[in-house]
């Protein structure tokens, strides 16, 4: 909830206020909840309404759909084009430097605090809409439909944002894991 509230508000403190107001609103309004939507949807509607009111007062003026448009209208390859062969080479646009398998990477290294902090950093560095979409989808576990409804963006825009976000996180992970392997191979 704090994450969602933060999308609309300028600071963490305001977002925390909004979450708190939301729970109070839920408690006070529970009698009026008629079960026409799921409880989750109802609670999030209260949350986003309060967050929007606070956000309008304190910051946000650009709608998500406009931001999503701005982040998806330029070309952005998932993988550095230099890793593919040129058009006139034998395997045109095939891998020149193919990605390695991660099957041999031990699970405890993959899920180590250090690896997770690299992923966290990569997500923090994403443009706003990509960050929001990957957070809701891959951390909070929302469905694409729920994300589209919340942000009022199209299915296609949602998918492009998710694709760009995941591609960048993969690149960061590949860079980190490759460097680590090289260091291990190097003689002490």
């Amino acid at each position: 909830m704090l994450r969602i509230a933060s999308l609309y508000t300028p600071s963490r403190a305001v977002a925390e206020d909004v979450v708190q107001e939301t729970w109070l609103g839920v408690l006070q309004g529970l009698d009026r909840f008629e079960g026409r939507s799921s409880l989750k949807t109802w609670i999030f509607r209260i949350l986003t309404n309060r967050a929007k009111t606070r956000g309008q007062r304190e910051r946000r003026s650009i709608p998500f759909s406009a931001l999503a448009g701005a982040e998806t209208n330029s070309d952005e390859p998932a993988v550095d084009p230099s890793r593919f062969q040129g058009d006139d080479e034998h395997f045109a646009r095939g891998w020149a430097s193919p990605p390695a398998s991660w099957e041999e990477v031990p699970e405890d290294r993959l899920l180590s605090t250090e690896t997770l902090s690299k992923v966290d950093e990569a997500i923090a560095a994403l443009p706003e809409m990509q960050r929001i979409v990957i957070t809701l989808r891959d951390i909070e576990g929302w469905s694409s439909q729920e994300v589209c409804n919340l942000l009022d963006i199209s299915e296609t825009n949602q998918r492009v944002l998710l694709h760009r976000a995941r591609s960048k996180v993969r690149r960061a992970l590949e860079k980190y894991l490759d460097t680590e392997q090289d260091e291990e191979k190097a003689p002490a």
Binding site: L27, G94, L111, L116, V119, D120, D138, V169, R170
Partner: protein, 81 residues
């Protein structure tokens, strides 16, 4: 299958999210899977994407600050009583 209908590796990496989301058309899905079946680089790439999603999912959702939690708990207790 004619040559111009096959996917290159560079095209395939742009379709990975649509593939995982299940939004590719049946013919595109077939072309994707035919390519993966014979290409080690793209097999690894798809596996890396799946791993990336799994690792991202291990990040814990943010926690409320202790102050905010205790205020909420207080409000909840007084509401109950």
């Amino acid at each position: 299958m004619s040559q111009d209908r096959t996917l290159s590796c560079q095209e395939l990496v742009e379709l990975v999210t649509s593939y995982l989301e299940g939004t590719l058309s049946a013919p595109d899905r077939a072309r994707f899977e035919e390519h993966i079946a014979v290409c080690e680089g793209c097999t690894n790439y798809l596996e890396q994407m799946r791993t990336t999603i799994r690792v991202t999912g291990m990040l814990t959702p943010e926690q409320l600050s202790p102050e905010a939690s205790s205020e909420l708990l207080h409000a909840f207790r007084s509401w109950r009583s």
